[in-house]
């Protein structure tokens, strides 16, 4: 069967094996399946890095929702990625206070040193995506940056090359 041309394109479900078990544990915490939608989407994003249309359809099926409903939820929240993102995902606060303290420069520096070039785009080597976000709740330590799950305060354009080097080498 695997020799057949369509087999190569076949979709690999996310919720198999361990991920399925994780979902089942989550499902136990909620009164109904629909309530587990957000954590289920997190599992997908963890496993695949982003959430494709096909993933949304799978989530819909697993939770007995409709694909359009899942899409509605995914697109409502900014923290679910609907496109592949780089291995390192950089979120820079550009809300007014940080902006006054030079957040724009930090963004520019990240775009330059990671070669991601455009906000939201992924660098050609697939390792970086930089986006602007709203207030990260650390206005006193402008400019805060989230790289993957690490929270880094008081970033200035000058500190950017060093950070980029560190994360490029896989230190997190």
């Amino acid at each position: 069967m695997s020799a057949h041309p369509t087999a190569a394109r076949e979709y690999q479900p996310v919720f198999l094996g361990k991920t399925r078990e994780q979902l089942d544990t989550i499902l136990k915490r909620y009164p109904n399946k629909q309530a587990a939608l957000l954590p289920a989407l997190w599992l997908v994003q963890e496993a695949r890095g982003w959430i494709s249309d096909r993933n949304m359809a799978e989530v819909a099926e697993v939770l007995a929702l409709t694909p359009a409903y899942v899409k509605g939820v995914v697109t409502f929240y900014t923290m679910y990625h609907q496109h592949p993102v780089g291995r390192n995902f950089v979120q820079v606060c550009t809300t007014s206070p940080c902006n006054l303290c030079g957040a724009e420069g930090v963004v520019k520096a990240f775009l330059e040193h990671t070669s991601a070039r455009d906000l939201g785009a992924t660098s050609p080597d697939g390792s970086w995506t930089v986006i602007e976000v709203e207030c990260l709740g650390a206005c006193g330590f402008a400019t805060p940056v989230l790289i993957n799950d690490d929270f880094i305060e008081s970033v200035t354009p000058e500190k950017v090359p060093e950070l980029v080097r560190k994360y490029r080498e896989g230190r997190r």
Binding site: M1, D53, R54, A57, T66, P67, A68, Y69, K71, T75
Partner: protein
Amino acid sequence: MPTLAINGRTLTANADATILDAARAAGIEIPTLCWYPKLPIVGNCRICLVSVDGQPKLLPACATKVADGMVVTTESHAAVENRRGVLRLLLERYPAEHLRNGGRARPRNEFEQYVARYGVDPTPLAGRDLPLRSGDERPGDPMIRHDMSTCILCTRCVRACADIQVVGVLDVAWRGEHAEIVVGADGDPDKAGCTWCGECVRVCPTGAIFETLPRQRFTPAQIRSPERVVRAVCPYCGVGCQVDLHVAGGRIARVTSPDIELDTPNQGSTCVKGRFGYDFPQHQDRLTRPLIRKGWVKDGGRWVWNGGQGAERRGGPWQTIEAEGQRSKPGTPPRATGKSVRELPLLERLDMDIRDRVATPPAWYEPFREATWEEAMELTAQELLRIKQARGGDALACFSSAKCSNEENYLLMRMFRGGLGTNNVDHCTRLCHSTSVAAMQRALSTSAASGSMREIEAACDVIFIAGANTTETHPVFGAAIKRAHGRGATLIVADPRRTELAGRADIHLQMQPGTDVALYSAMLQHILAQSLENRAFLAERTHDFEKVRAAVQPYTPERAAKITGVPADVIRRAAETYARGPNTSTLWAMGLTQHANGTDIVTSLLNLMLACGMIGRWGAAMLPVRGQNNVQGASDVGAIPFVYTDYRSVKDPAIRAEYARAWSVPAETLSLKEGLMVTEVVKPESGVRGMYIMGENPIISDPDIAHAEHWFQELEFLAVQDLFLTETARYADVVFPGASFAEKTGTFVNTERRIQLSHRAADPPGQARGDLEILIELSNRLGLPTPHQSADEVMQEIAQVTPSWRGVTHSRLEGAGLQYPVPTADHPGTAFLFAERFPTADGRARFVPVEYTDPVELPDETYPFVMNTGRQLYHWHTGTMTRRATGLDAREPTAIVEIHPADAAALGVTEGDLVRLTSRRNSMVTACRISDRVARGQVFVPFHFREAAANLLTNPVLDPYAKMAELKICAVKVEPVHASAPVPAD
């Protein structure tokens, strides 16, 4: 009841009514956008805000309940200013250039009407901050176009899809100014489960979601203001949806669904066939002149045959269905194998190729010549009378049609009984619910559903569905069942396939095909063991229960589990749920009836139903779901071999006398001998030598076609009245061009005994005539006085000879129609029957014990698969109509067999590959569709396709009572067909 004042008028309203309800009831109009009848109220558009005295703010009329003493002003200054504001905001994202500068005189849709009424001037496009939403996102779709640039986000479509059709293809995604309606996760309706019902088209107030075909074939002006809008009954299934046909240029431009709050069977919904399957009457293949087989010549005032003899007598330049079935095929286009329409370039050339897919090949006309009506009538009358004189009336037979009106069926049976003296009158009910009728007659002396479709949604606690794929075969009713389930009714489905309803069911009894008797007997056995039977009902309203009690004893759930494959616990749970009700409705269809022991199967289900007393109450309905839109009516008016109208026996001389009087013929003209049934006629020993077939295509629908096809060729005379030169008509001597549903006025009876009136919208093409006209003329020529001029007059005669229709007239049927019995002119019709007694002699139901027997053909080593046959959502029976309906054919263009993924893997075949199916009778080639809807070891073949006709394979063995064939089960083998070279998808 609260009393309130709206615009100075004092009104009373129900306590739970909204201001909008109260206003509408009083004929006061309040603008609405997000509100729509029967949809959940969301109150998000704010256009309906009204002033209420004493309230600081405007209130939404659609979402505010009335209160006693309320004083409402609908067009106060504040309300009007608010409406203008709402409209202005919506117009910011609406292509509205044509509405500027006085362009509001011709509003194009519901939304623009409000813009016009409130005199709002849109900002020019150039001056806007926000771009329009994206335009047509799915170009080339054959049915529905989405142009979200005109969407106003009222979300009616979302709710219509999710709450009325219970599908959920659409939703709102993104946020704020980016919000828009999305289709599934990836924009592809097919993948999101869209059934193309068009409910979203119906409710959209702007035309953002609209049908494709009208826009391709008609001008915007024709669509907006059709010449006429005519009420008709959908020509497809037994739900009997009322539809409005929009006529432009003498053709049907569009179908909409009317009067949604009226008590019609569909209440505004339709399925894909009803809304998009309307263009077959305009197909190029329509017969427009009578045809006579070349070889018939007139010689000295008589027609004589001087054409070829033997095989040439009815030959023609075509392949038999048998040969077509066995031929290799070009495979299946991706669309037919569940792939996205966007991957399919073919559809962009909609008009060019798809309509011709099943077009009558030109060569089929070669054996015929065009004739005048005079010639065709004369020849037919001469031959029918000749055969009658030479061999007796019983050498003639007719197949009437469940697609034709009551009036037409009545006239045809009247012609054969009164004019030709034979009771050989039958129609496709034989292959449909004849076994149900036999079983219901035996147990209850009745032949129709006891209840109504709407009670399922209104009052039923447990819905038991056996052998009915309702969401595909009766989609509008299927949606009602899904709604009922959604509101809390328990759903039990007994079906070998995992149909959509089975997938949603609380309990799915997925049994081996044909093991129903064991299953229902075991349910009853368990019910008795638990003492859950309805003792009072058994004692007061039934007979002979003890016989059945004894008969079911051996069927323990454990034993039934072995036979049916359903675990004993599941059987027990289903039995208890069924018996506990409190109101359980019992639905069934072809999955039970199309078996060689169909009568016994239905009987065992009726035994279960009666033992629990689940009949004769609102909410406890017995509903055999009828297939064709008039299969109930055709039987009711006597187009079956044993009875006249109202199921009154042909054997009773007193009854015969009554009909003889009504038809002005001597009583002896009418035969007292019961006639032959469809499946008996098509046998060499039937003695039938001449046939008249109206609107049926037995060469595709009969079991073991190869035999049937041969039999038809041996006839002395065959006349066919149809829309197209069907596979059957090509063997005819005379072909009469009839009229389609849109071209005639007549009545149809739906599955809940509702007689409905369908009006003529267009003229038949060319010289084609109304079927009624044809029958009137032919009856007169056969010497049977038939003075009727119209369907209305025929109905008067039917009412006169049909006690339960006595109060029926065409004028009374306008609107929602009447559910018979309607015994008197002022009787309101009957929503459910048997509240007090059954129509048996003593008013009690009879129990009939039945035993389980194995299906006639079980799989073995040579034929390891069980083949099941049935219908698909997009097609209808032998495909004559739906395969000529552009949109429908585009969605399901080729023949397939559904096969389980594991079986497919074992055979080494995949989606779209060709396989050869062989039964003990014949073989044919078709393409695979991999689907886990079928269980392992089973295959499902739809019977719509002449090029891979399921009925080549089916087993013609007959039910002893109803002469139903075993269409649902035969043993087949499946072998891959390896095409020598890649064949292009056609």
